[in-house]
Every structure is written in C-alpha cells, then in structure tokens.
Amino acid sequence: MGLREALASGKVVVTAEVAPPKGTDLTAFRESLPYLRGRVDAVNVTDFQSAVVRASSLTLCRLLLEEGLDPVLQITGRDRNRIAIQGELLGAAILGIRNVLAITGDHTEIGDHPGAKPVFDLDAVTILQAAQRLNQGRDLAGNPLRGATDFTLGATVTPCYEPLELQVLKMESKIAAGATFFQTQAVYEVEAMRRFREATAHLGDVKVLVGIIPLKSAGMARFMNKNVPGIRVPEELLERMAAAPDPVAAGVKAAGELMAALLAEGLCDGFHLMTLGREDLVPEILAAAGLA
C-alpha cells in the first residue's frame, strides 16, 4: 500500500523524510532503509533543502522505489523555472513516482551558494497548478501531453504561523490548486493543533499529517525556537529535555506522547516524521506513539 491508498483508507498515515547525500556516498541512505521499510507509508525526499547543493530528489526517489518504498518527490520553485519543473515532474512520472510535495523553497541567500540566482518562477501554489494540469494531460500553457501524469499532490502548512489567518488563506489556495494532503511544520503542542484545526475546519476533506521532529537535546530546542520559523518548543518541554539523563530517548518519548494525544483528540490524519538523519529512531517513535 502506498501513500495514496493509505490516505484513502482512513488509517493513521505515517510518512518519513530523507535527504539526498551531499556527494555520491549512499551509505547513510541505505542504512536508513531497514528502519523505514514496512513501517511508513511513504518517504519524502527533500529538494536541495535549505538551498544547499546535494544529489537531486528525483534520483533518490527512484532508488526508494527500487527498495520497495513509496517516495514523495519534494519540488521547490527556487531552482527551476516552469519549463524545468514540468519536465522534472514528467520525468518523475516516467520513473514511477506517484507523489509530489510542492514547496516554494528557502531563498538561495540562506544556502551554501548564496550568490546563486533565485528563480521562483513558480511558487508552491503554481507548482501544484502545473502538476494538476499534467495530471489532466496538459501542460501549464495548455499544450496537450502524450500521456498524462497521475500524481497525488501535497503541500506544506505551518500551524504556528503568525498571523494564522494568512496561513489558512494560503492553504486554501493550495487546495484550490490541487493539494489533497498537507504535511505540517514541526509541532510540539497539542494546543497549537487545536487552534489550527479550528481555523481550518471549513476546508473539508484534506488530510493533515502533523510534522514531528524529535528533539535530541535542550540545545536543539532552543536553537529551533530562536532560528526556525514556525517552530515553537514550549518551555516545559525544554525543561524536560534539559533534565533528562538520556535526552534522545526523552525526545522520542515526548514525540510519541504528543502523537498519541493528537490522535486521541482526532486532530490529525497522521504524521510526517522528520528525523534529520536519525531515521533509526523511527521505529522507537512509532512504538512510543502506540503505532508500532
């Protein structure tokens, strides 16, 4: 069962995330696979995340397929214009990739080639629009395709965004452009999701997978609070992490508790686990959430 079937089944959907290597060494990628296979419904592959040069998302998506995992191709508007984006999507479809997550993308200036030309010909919404057209057998300019794509389209949303109303308006645009599932920025509080679900109650049947980044230390939590937009680790969790003899285990436990609480209140349809290189933690997180 892949992501599409999982989303349709009504079960708790779990996606994970891997980043392509900076270089050609696939050791870490291959080592992560046993922790994911059979445990998650799909695996996102990031697209030059943080505007850093790495191997392409498409390449690793194909490798995931060969390993029996359902990949989600992340694609941003930062590095490619509308011609390259549509071409990449057609290529992905030819390679058997069925899921696309459209992202606007971090600005080139925050990456490792800060002088690069930022493209942003399309944004998350217009990438979705393009992909939706490809699904309908046409390109963005209306030209017919020989063979349409059949993507399940997703997008991101930030529940802790201020002002939330603006984020919800953007989410509406993404839905209008074809998004059927959302993966959220990392969340650490049930209350944040309560507020978010209330603000999005009018949006009908879109699937929301709550982003989970397990904390590895109190320092990491402080760093994210200070530097990562849309992430808010509450003070009491910070203290809990600081006091924990084994902070990684404490982070896993806290993630599991949050997930169980969100499910208990029916605040989401599943989870998107962003383990940032510690994919070996995925089985433990799922167990802590009662999902193993």
Binding site: T104, D106, D123, L169
Partner: protein
C-alpha cells in the same frame, strides 16, 4: 526615483587607468536629490581625481542625463569636453548609457545603480518597484510583492517569516504580512482567495515603446 551609490574610488581609478584627461557629468534629477551626481558630488569627485593625479577638463550637470536629445545638445556645447580622453558619469545606469550613446569618447560609470525606490528620509531609500511591466498593486493593498517579497511571490507568503520579518533579511518586513495587514484593514482579504497565475515575464522585457 532611481537610487544609486558611488563606487569605491579605487574601482573608479582602475576603470580610468591610462586615461589622464577626464570630463565629468552629473545629473540634475534623481542623482542630485539622492546625492550621487549633483553639483556637490561632481565637485568632490573632481577633487578626488585631481588628488589621484588626473586632469579634469570640465564638468557639466546634465538636465537630466536620461533625455537623449537634450544630452546630445548639452554635450555639444560643454566646455572642456573636446580636450577629454574619457567621460566619467555620475548618474544612474540610464544616464550613463544616454551619455555613452551621444559621444565617441569612452564612458565610465561612477555609480552602481541599485533600484527604483522611495526616499524615506535623507540618505535612506527603500526599493519599491522592479518595473515588472504588469503592475499588481491593485490587489495588494498598495504594497509590491514583486519587489518587496524577496521571492517575488504572488500567492501569499512563504513559510520563512519570523516575527513579521523576511527570512532573507531580518531588517526587512515580510511583504506578505504587510499586504495581509493592509488588505485586512481595508476589508479586502478576499483578494487573497484568488490563485494568481505565474507571471508573463515577457512583459518585463519590453526594450522600447513608442
């Protein structure tokens, strides 16, 4: 207003290498108001070049430096131009090209032209328009997303703003939060409900109009 800033003297001297007799032009408009090519700046540049061993054959403040016919006429009767080996232009990139198009002498820019901007107060300028050829201000509360959003986004904000500031530069307000606030205040948030198509970039590439 066109905003520019003077290049470092070292770079100017490098461009002028091998040229001894220099003619300077300024401009009466933006360059005067924003102090990158008015009387004062031209006089200061003349003095600096003299200090560096150059000879200044003459100066003129073009009025303005971006109207071709006028520049042609003013250059024709500018005293000192005949004796010059090169012209250094204290104007914007347009002013510099207009001068270059009306002389056979080599022409050098004294300034780096930055943007079309607004004068917030003396010495402080804000970029507000990229001359994109298809103005969006009618639905954005009078705030330009093409220019003032670092990604030029038309379909709402990216996820990168923090405390209302842009992910690229914490000194700059996130344009999209400003747009949201402006539209909310006017009761026009519905304008953000429409998905905006990708821009037609041909519109920004009109090289001439009649």
């Amino acid at each position: 207003m066109i905003i520019a800033k003077q290049k470092e003297l070292a770079e100017i001297l490098q461009m002028l290498e091998g040229k001894q007799r220099i003619f300077l032009t300024g401009c009466s408009q933006c360059a005067t108001t924003c102090k990158f090519g008015g009387e004062e700046e031209v006089a200061r540049m003349a003095a600096a070049l003299k200090d560096a061993g150059k000879e200044i054959t003459g100066t003129v403040i073009l009025d303005p430096s971006c109207i071709s016919l006028k520049v042609k006429k003013d250059l024709r009767r500018a005293p000192g131009l005949q004796e010059a080996e090169a012209i250094l232009v204290l104007a914007c990139g347009d002013g510099c090209q207009t001068v270059a198009g009306n002389t056979r002498l080599p022409v050098y820019p004294a300034n780096d032209t930055l943007f079309i901007g607004e004068v917030e107060r003396v010495g402080r300028f804000k970029e507000v328009c990229r001359a994109c050829g298809s103005c969006e201000l009618g639905w954005t509360g009078g705030i330009c997303p093409v220019t003032r959003c670092a990604k030029g986004l038309l379909n709402g904000p990216c996820g990168g703003s923090r405390d209302g500031k842009c992910e690229v530069d914490p000194e700059l307000d996130c344009a999209w939060i400003l747009i949201y606030e402006a539209l909310k205040e006017r009761g026009e948030l519905d304008k953000l409900r429409q998905v905006r198509l990708p821009r037609d970039h041909r519109k920004a590439r009109r090289l001439a109009i009649n």
